[in-house]
């Protein structure tokens, strides 16, 4: 650990730093120009800078990179880099897809909108890249506060404001419980530096109640972000009420950030190492509930965003199953599975939401009914959306199948205790196909009431293309992805000397 901050440490921070600077630039640009396209283009192209900087970190362009900076509060292990890329992809796609929606439906100017998104993005990136509780908390808030704002940005109806207030109040409650957990953890170990926590935690018994209470509270606080049952209840309302690009953003971003933080805290902080025998049961129960309630709840929805909310709860269930697999042996396999699943989930979810945005851009409708005959009204968007929905459902040949298979496989392989969870997961994915396929059914089978074609802006089409191609490529190179994820997961465990 270097004793003082130097250029190399700034280099480690540079991706996040550049995102923040970009958000300032965008915000400032908004004052100077009224041309939305310019703002949008700057936001979009500007994201290349953090990408390049992340690449420079990955490939050590400027010499061997230090492992940590800022007194251990910033780490750039493979795990962190993995999430940086993931969030940058999310950033690119969200910025890309928002172009038309912003001017049509949002209260905010494009500059404000993009800068808020970018700040949140910086928060997310930091969440994956820090190994210290205070920083995690602050990053979480940097992530969340923009999201609260984003939820309330829709100009059109009261639902958006309602979503925002629900989101902010529940978010604050969850922050409180998270903080309480962190406080307890601090109280138990005397440090908020996870590496030190991991060291000192071993002297506590596995059954230390204070530690377990801290575990539960921290999980509850972050469980809110990943919408795990029973902390999921906000998701349907807020997904429905928020403007669709924002919904997309927190359905993928917030969730990924939540998982980044959970795994960081629980693995890096050594919590799983100490209390795995209790925690995996807890996680298994939560996983079972989450996927069941998510998937069953989605069946009867009529609003597509609400359905997607339940869907993402269901997907979170699979992820939590991965966490359980991670917890049971505290092994990197579960982490790998979660990382892989997250990537695929992010890409496919972006595709699915892009379809929703495309329809909303054109018609302003967002009921499942409104997708009737989309296959004829807009063949390419419908095809891409169907492709992504089916990938979410885990139907081959889409990558979703493989990532889900991998997570189930890992859970199955990690312990016989998770066998029934896997079977429940398989049953759930069958149930989930019903509502995903229902959308596909409506898009292709039902005849539309209006037959005129839907015009889709290029940016939306491009996003769709990116995510479809992404899914397709992921299918083929999923092996590579898994290897990368495995190295990311490995780096998370390395610090512990595993």
């Amino acid at each position: 650990m270097t004793s003082h901050i130097d250029a190399a440490q700034i280099w480690l921070l540079s991706p996040e730093l550049s995102v923040v600077l970009l958000s300032f630039v965008v915000l400032g640009l908004d004052l100077l120009t009224r041309r939305k396209t310019l703002v949008w283009a700057v936001a979009f192209i500007g994201l290349i800078v953090p990408l390049v900087l992340t690449l420079s970190l990955t490939f050590n362009w400027f010499g061997e990179r230090p492992t940590t900076a800022f007194f251990g509060m910033l780490t750039t292990d493979s795990y962190a880099l993995f999430f940086k890329y993931l969030f940058l992809v999310i950033g690119f796609c969200v910025v890309l897809v928002s172009y038309q929606y912003v001017e049509k439906y949002l209260l905010a100017t494009p500059g404000e909108y993009y800068s808020i998104i970018l700040m949140s993005l910086a928060g997310m990136m930091l969440m994956g890249g820090t190994g210290e509780l205070i920083t995690i908390y602050i990053s979480l808030e940097l992530t969340s506060i923009p999201l609260y704002i984003l939820a309330g940005l829709s100009r059109r109806d009261g639902r958006s404001a309602e979503a925002a207030i629900k989101y902010v109040l529940l978010g604050a409650m969850s922050s409180a419980i998270l903080l309480y957990g962190m406080a307890l953890l601090y109280g138990a170990t005397g440090s908020t530096d996870l590496a030190e926590v991991a060291k000192s935690i071993t002297t506590l018994g596995s059954g230390n109640l204070m530690l377990l209470a801290a575990d539960v509270f921290i999980f509850a606080g972050l469980g809110f972000k990943i919408s795990a049952v029973p902390f999921h209840m906000w998701a349907p309302d807020i997904y429905e009420g928020a403007p669709t690009p924002s919904t997309l953003f927190f359905s993928v971003g917030s969730k990924a950030a939540g998982f980044a933080a959970i795994m960081r805290i629980f693995v890096f902080g050594g919590l799983f190492a100490v209390s795995s025998s209790y925690l995996w049961v807890l996680l298994a129960i939560v996983a079972a509930l989450t996927m069941t309630i998510g998937n069953v709840g989605a069946l009867m929805q009529s609003n597509i965003k609400r359905m997607m909310a339940y869907s993402s709860i269901g997907q979170a269930g699979y992820l939590v199953m991965g966490l359980a697999a991670l917890a049971i042996n505290n092994s990197a396999a579960g982490t790998t599975a979660v990382l892989v699943f997250l990537v695929v989930f992010v890409v496919t979810n972006i595709g699915a939401f892009t379809g929703i945005i495309a329809l909303a851009d054109a018609t302003g409708q967002e009921n499942i009914r409104d997708f009737d005959g989309l296959g004829r009204r807009s063949p390419w968007i419908a095809a891409g959306m169907a492709f992504c929905l089916l990938a979410l459902a885990g139907i081959p040949p889409m990558a979703g199948f493989l990532s889900k298979l991998f997570i189930f496989f890992t859970a199955w392989g990690e312990g016989s205790g998770l066998t029934f969870l896997v079977i429940l997961g398989l049953i759930n994915s069958t149930i989930s196909i019903v509502y995903y396929a229902n959308v596909v059914w409506r898009m292709y089978v039902i005849e539309p009431k209006k037959r005129e074609r839907i015009t889709v802006s290029n940016s939306v089409s491009l996003t769709m293309a990116v995510s479809v191609i992404g899914v397709f490529v992921l299918t083929i190179v999923i092996g590579v992805l898994m290897t990368q994820a495995a190295s990311g997961a490995g780096s998370l465990f390395q610090a512990l000397g595993h």
Binding site: L133, I134, I145, L169, M173, A183, Y186, G241
Partner: protein
Amino acid sequence: MVTLNSFVVLGAVIFCIGLFGALSRRNAVGILMSIEIMLNAVNITLVAFASAFIHNPNVGNRLTGQIFAVFIITVAAAEAAVALAMIIAIYRRRNTIDVGEINLMRW
């Protein structure tokens, strides 16, 4: 004698009082105030822990709990600002801040 545990218990009690308010007050501002109470409870706990750790040779001089409390205060203020803005926004739209009536979206 006031031990660490006294402070922790105090924190727990206050946290839960705040929680009760957050879960039962119908006025959105009231909920927000309750949440502030919860955060304060956390702060009390943290500062208490920090004091307990103060003689710890490894970490004591970092005063982590106090620093944490500073950050929490900062963020809570920011959050409160945003939340109040939203309460006002919804008041403008719906003319109510009764969370029992803010249920346009359900099922």
